[in-house]
Symmetry: C2
Amino acid sequence: MKKRKVYVLRIGHRPSRDKRISTHVGLVARAFGADGIIYSNTNDRGLYQSLMKVVETWGGPFEVKLGGHWRQIIKDWKDRGGVVIHLTMYGENIEQSDILRKLRELEKDVLVVVGAEKVPGEVYDLADFNIAIGNQPHSEVAALAIFLDRLFEGRELTKEFKNAKLKIIPQIRGKKVVKIG
Amino acid sequence: MKKRKVYVLRIGHRPSRDKRISTHVGLVARAFGADGIIYSNTNDRGLYQSLMKVVETWGGPFEVKLGGHWRQIIKDWKDRGGVVIHLTMYGENIEQSDILRKLRELEKDVLVVVGAEKVPGEVYDLADFNIAIGNQPHSEVAALAIFLDRLFEGRELTKEFKNAKLKIIPQIRGKKVVKIG
């Protein structure tokens, strides 16, 4: 069986304002087992480079893409048979939804859409599912982490990354980092 | 049985650089069921006000405290019989640790410490447990969300907040917000 692909689409990134949050979204996508992230409607090379530096140091594979219009990216994903999940505080509460069971049954590639402050109303209609990680205001960084953690059932937290230069050896106190290769 | 208190201690907040990430940390603390957050060594009123505005609109109780030295806050917490968990990528991997079982057995008040970029080495020694939400670089916002989600076993995502002015009614498409009271 072909492994299902999971990508994150970050829409509404504003380089001046969102650099650090968007970086955290990308780092979470990688650390929580997604195959890549797409930042639509932007050409923020600084963002791209800071994520690729983490991939170089801590391993991959993890793809970072810049640009394209979110509408086209979502439509293309669906045209290729994938499913689109939009994370929003207004959606079905994940605790009261059977979305995870559905996704396991579907075995389709998953695109997880997370917005910045204001998400165009059209996204709610284009998405196959609008899912709330609780119906309270918090953070797209947290929402993405919880969604992926549940999708991968915690296994992502012990994932071995390939071609890493550094690796952490977990410690009860202090830090231990080893060089590889 | 007295309900156990869970607070978050955010150390190393720099108003110029960390405002949005620190705000997300605070919003996650509230939305994921903590009783309050302490930002040590800062007097950032803007941060305080933006969080209190969320409490006013979306409900509480949730306490936000500014100031105090992190060392003293941690020591006081332990002196009063509480347990201190430091979230760090260098710590014991939560997937390979029995920390959650221990915390359930202990029934002590929990202080969850999250740092900004660089955490003083002393924190690793003062904490009762150094726990990694995976041993990969990502985000203190995500780490806090996952830790609280596991501590509260997902129940926090349907928590009812008190004295809210607005409440979201979960929708399959679109947004529905109702005024209360």
